[in-house]
Symmetry: C2
Subunit: 173 residues, 2 copies
């Protein structure tokens, strides 16, 4: 890290329906470009074609926009990350979690645009998401990690197979 | 198996809000007692104290009723199992799943009362739950299994760590 400070400085707008800030920004970016800043948002009203572009950029398989819309609507929390330059805003990160709103949450679809990877932003995005879940009093935060990102999540305090608990996926015979 | 046939014979009541049958029954029970039958339901309006008793019976830690209620409300699907004797009905099994209503579901809190374990009913309950999720067009059915039940789930078509995907849980440092 060191390049970006993952310091959540504040929220700008009114509280979201769940009583969480719907927008905040990361500041202190000692990078070459003083005209940009990184913004986080829990607003789920985003351009789904822009999200598709982001997922394309990391090589994920296309999914029907209609279903993506439904999944976002029925996620418990969505945290997006934006690069803001003057009036222009670009979607550079996405994450969401499903939940029973009481005990458990499961994180899906964590992505940072390749142009912005390796700068601590994935970590900052995940911290925002975890903080949002913890503020909502969720005690059991879970996910299913592809092998190449297990270390990324371990870095953030996630344990694989704690006490022998196994992640399992159903496949029709 | 052989003791109970996991045959879902039909549904008795009107369609549930999601367009799924809210009640059905298992029949063909060649057991000693011809006066009982096993019923499944997706109705989530159940007596939470009866559910607490069921969870107590398998030694699960007590959870605040208020939070259990919230978790059930915000689960995507709840499938319960009942023993019916004449007009009396007893809760003997429970399971639920969270979901984004589009791609992924995660199964939680699968339990069969000890008096009814080892008769194929856990399997029948899980099959009901999976069927309900598949009918709702969910393609990715997941769960986190305690070590002593990994084989139970493997039997049902669940794979641990497919392609190296790891189940992970977040613990505060
Ligand atoms: C995984 C991903 C979100 C990480 O985002 P990122 O912004 O590149 O990560 P960061 O720069 O915040 O990295 C934070 C820390 O994790 C480490 N890290 C990042 N990616 C890693 C990886 N794939 N494996 C191991 N460690 C990793 C970094 O070295 C850094 O360590 P440090 O805190 O010791 O310096 C991003 O690479 C991505 O979107 N990848 C493609 C999509 C994907 O695979 N998503 C996960 C699906 S399960
Ligand atoms: C796990 C549980 C739901 C299984 O229900 P059940 O009604 O006893 O299981 P069934 O009789 O339907 O068993 C179906 C098959 O799984 C096998 N099986 C059942 N429990 C098993 C276990 N713990 N380990 C390995 N295999 C198991 C049975 O032998 C049977 O195999 P078969 O189809 O080859 O005959 C039940 O034992 C239970 O409620 N346990 C306590 C709560 C719990 O631990 N839940 C899981 C939390 S992650």
């Amino acid at each position: 890290m060191g390049f970006w400070k993952s310091l959540f400085l504040g929220s700008e707008s009114a509280a979201s329906p769940k009583g969480l800030p719907s927008r905040g920004y990361l500041a202190d970016l000692p990078n070459a470009d003083e005209n940009s800043r990184i913004i986080f948002s829990t607003d789920r009203d985003l351009d789904l074609y822009e999200l598709e572009e982001l997922c394309d950029a990391v090589g994920w398989a296309r999914r029907p926009i209609r279903k993506v819309k439904k999944a976002i609507q029925h996620s418990f929390v969505v945290v997006t990350m934006w690069e803001e330059r003057g009036a222009r805003r670009r979607l550079i990160g996405f994450s969401r979690a499903t939940s029973d709103h009481a005990f458990n949450a499961t994180i899906w679809d964590v992505v940072v645009h390749p142009d912005f990877q390796g700068k601590g932003l994935g970590k900052a995005l995940m911290k925002q998401l975890i903080k949002t879940l913890r503020n909502a009093d969720i005690s059991n935060v879970t996910l299913f990690a592809d092998p190449h990102v297990v270390e990324f999540y371990r870095n953030l305090g996630f344990m694989p197979d704690p006490e022998g608990i196994k992640g399992m996926f159903w496949y029709p015979d």
